[in-house]
């Protein structure tokens, strides 16, 4: 299964075995070793998503699905945005 993890113009492609279900939390955890600098920006020391971020799956906020437990399918895009104010 191939998933896209994106933030702005930065895109990471992740590959998972077809037969094991993967949720948003697991997709984020999977970059801990491969992209530690991105992981640290997104998750705190306890592995929780930072409160200044919002996560979307295929443009839909995960609040409308099952939050971090939202299960992902092949080709899904997990999109992370920082919540900040414009001037």
């Amino acid at each position: 299964m191939r998933l896209k993890l994106a933030c702005g113009h930065r895109k990471l492609w992740l590959q998972f075995p077809e037969d094991i279900p993967v949720n948003v939390a697991q997709a984020l955890q999977s970059i801990k070793d491969t992209y530690p600098e991105v992981y640290e920006r997104w998750c705190d020391s306890k592995g929780r998503l930072r409160s200044s971020l919002a996560v979307f799956v295929n443009s839909e906020h995960i609040r409308y699905r099952k939050g971090m437990d939202t299960e992902l399918s092949d080709g899904d895009e997990v999109y992370v945005i920082p919540i900040i104010a414009g001037g």
């Binding site: 702005g8 409308y64 920082p82 900040i84």
Partner: protein, 635 residues
């Protein structure tokens, strides 16, 4: 006098032409810092209750803070203040970067208060501590761009200018005050106040140094602070605020289709990208721009010499539009034509218009037009349809010049709605006459009390859950749970009060550890500041501005609340669908925590004493505001 202050302000009576220096008291500076804090304290005594905001009794202030023009991160700001002609005569203020603020201090003053009204157009020139009122008859009618060119030709390139364009001269409530051609003190309709005083510009020149209590310490602190940028830094540094346009449209933070639509449906990703981040900074000739002393440089210049929307001034070079402008004229109007927004930015800057106000007003008009309440006959033949870039550009120009239908719109939504016979009330999205900036309380519910309770309504830069600085320990929890938010909210609001009053840019607040602010204040002024003290000072400033409104008979709880802002009814699509913000509970708990009456918002004697504001107790006991209906959890 402590460090950070030049120690004096200049009072100008424009009716008599007299100028007078006033020494600043230590206590005033320590308790109210500067900017709108100090101004609110002083103008509470100097603007009589009930004064006409566009009459000679109103006083326009341009004030810096103790960190303006110092090595502090980022001391680029000044504030314009006055009683607002826009919000039913409540307190008005607007914050601005550029170069004017620091240079006002280098010219010798922490601020200028301008009262009365000149019999003929004038401008004030402060040259190395010497103030002169000069004839501006030949400058009246000029756009901001040409005005700055003429004044620099006349007085030399080393001056800085704060001015109004034709919109301010014509007392349009959409008017702002400009500096460095393209930086705006946008909100509260203060351009009209300056116009009512027939003051075209304030020009400053000076090379005085701002006294620093501990120069070595503040220089060292700056170095240390700049090494600790938060992740937001790279977005701001690389793109400016246009870096968040796409994501905010997707998330539900930006207004879409006059606050009635959903980004994911009405302005999807591929359209939002056209007016966001890379699309903006890859425009021809892009060059980053920084306000005075700023390491972030979130601004930028672009070149647009040809095409339908070729720029008219500065040899085709203009400032890139920022997030608010991109949303108010982009997502809000379903307009993905970036060149048109670059052009609109030029028109607004040159004529002296607030882009949030004008974009919001045009959104109201387009929706009235699309739903058949207005026709081409009303709109001077312009087809005011969603995304019609040519018509939007043309209408912006008409508003700035009060031409034809533009005259109906030149004072913003509330006045236009009245003049048009109160049509399309649902589409008239404003709070007490102030158009709403491009951040949706349905996405950040904590913004609802910020918009509804602060002295200046509909203001995203007044703190709260939208603006969380790095390094602050707060409990947030689920943003859609509406109770027990008061402690965090007040903390966030009060810290921003001090940031603004100190003369700092909010992007420094959002990019560097918050503890840096009291440290820098202490190093520059020599007074003890810590996080607790900063919060108390912030609450004092918040209360002072609020007291000004109470004395005017204004209760923020009776402000109109546009249904679209709080999800009444809720949206059925997009990423804030189904959300209805329980702003009444948020407001009530905030008032209780502050010790303010929950129906009249009058501060209790005890809460005033806590802040050392005993002088207000008598006045507040006489406040006569309409009481709001009691609110309960079931509202």
């Amino acid at each position: 006098m402590s460090g950070g202050y030049m120690g004096k302000i200049l009072n100008v009576n424009l009716t008599t032409g007299k100028t007078q220096e006033e020494q600043l008291g230590q206590e005033l500076c320590r308790d109210y810092i500067g900017g709108y804090g100090m101004a609110a304290r002083l103008l509470y005594d100097r603007i009589p209750a009930g004064a006409d905001p566009l009459g000679p009794d109103n006083v326009l202030g341009l004030l810096t803070g103790p960190l303006t023009g110092t090595p502090a991160v980022i001391g680029s700001r000044f504030m314009a203040v006055a009683k607002s002609p826009k919000t039913t005569g409540g307190w008005g203020d607007a914050n601005c970067g550029g170069y004017f603020g620091p240079h006002l201090k280098f010219a010798g003053y922490d601020g200028v208060f301008l009262g009365g009204a000149a019999p003929k157009p004038l401008y004030l020139f402060i040259n190395e501590g010497k103030a002169q009122l000069l004839d501006a008859s030949d400058l009246w009618g000029l756009g901001v761009t040409a005005l700055e060119d003429v004044l620099k030709e006349r007085h030399g390139k080393d001056i800085q200018i704060c001015s109004i364009g034709p919109a301010g001269e014509m007392l349009s409530l959409t008017a702002c005050i400009m500096n460095d051609k393209e930086r705006a003190a946008g909100r509260s309709g203060l351009g009209a106040v300056m116009g009512s005083k027939r003051l075209k510009a304030v020009v400053v020149r000076g090379r005085m140094k701002v006294p620093l209590h501990d120069k070595e310490k503040i220089t060292g602190l700056r170095k240390k602070i700049l090494k600790q940028p938060a992740p937001f830094y790279s977005i701001l540094h690389n793109y400016g605020t246009c870096g968040i346009t796409h994501d905010s449209a997707l998330s539900g933070d930006s207004p879409v289709k006059n606050w009635g639509g959903a980004g994911t449906v009405d302005f999807p990703s591929e359209r939002a990208r056209k007016i966001s981040d890379k699309a903006v900074v890859t425009l021809e000739g892009y060059k980053a721009y920084a306000c005075w002393g700023c390491p972030i440089a979130c601004g930028g210049k672009v070149v647009q010499k040809s095409g339908r929307f070729a720029l008219e001034f500065n040899n085709g070079v203009g400032h890139k539009p920022e997030y608010e402008t991109l949303c108010m004229f982009g997502t809000n109007l379903l307009n993905d034509d970036l060149a048109s927004i670059v052009k609109i930015n030029e028109i607004c800057n040159n004529l002296g218009l607030d882009t949030i106000t004008v974009g919001g007003t045009i959104g109201y008009i387009i929706e009235c037009y699309e739903s058949g309440l207005l026709t081409k006959k009303d709109t001077d033949g312009l087809e005011m349809t969603w995304g019609n870039a040519e018509a939007i550009v043309a209408m912006t120009e008409k508003i700035g010049r009060r031409e034809g239908f533009g005259d109906v719109l030149a004072d913003g939504i509330r006045v236009a709605w009245e003049k048009l016979g109160r049509i399309g009330t649902e589409y008239a999205v404003h709070i007490e006459g102030e158009e709403v900036p491009a951040h949706d309380p349905k996405f950040t519910p904590g913004l609802a009390p910020t918009y509804l309770l602060a002295a200046t309504p509909a203001r995203h830069t007044q703190g709260g859950e939208l603006l969380i600085p790095p390094g602050l320990e707060i409990t947030q929890g689920d943003k859609y749970v509406y109770t027990e938010k008061a402690e965090t909210h007040w903390k966030l609001v009060c810290l921003v009060e001090v940031c603004n009053a100190a003369g700092l840019c909010m992007f420094g607040y959002l990019n560097y550890p918050i503890q840096a602010i009291p440290e820098q204040l202490a190093a520059v002024t020599g007074w003890d500041y810590d996080m607790d003290g900063m919060q108390k000072t912030g609450m004092r400033i918040f209360t002072m501005r609020h007291a000004f409104n109470l004395r005017e008979g204004l209760n923020p709880l009776t402000r109109n609340v546009p249904g679209r802002l709080v999800g009444k009814p809720p949206l059925s699509e997009g990423n804030v669908r189904g959300v209805t913000v329980d702003y009444k509970t948020l407001n009530r708990e905030l008032l209780e925590a502050a010790g303010w009456d929950t129906r009249m918002t009058v501060p209790s004697d005890e809460s005033l004493r806590r802040l050392g504001m005993d002088f207000l107790i008598d006045d507040m006991s006489k406040v006569n505001v309409p009481a709001a209906a009691p609110s309960t959890n079931s509202d």
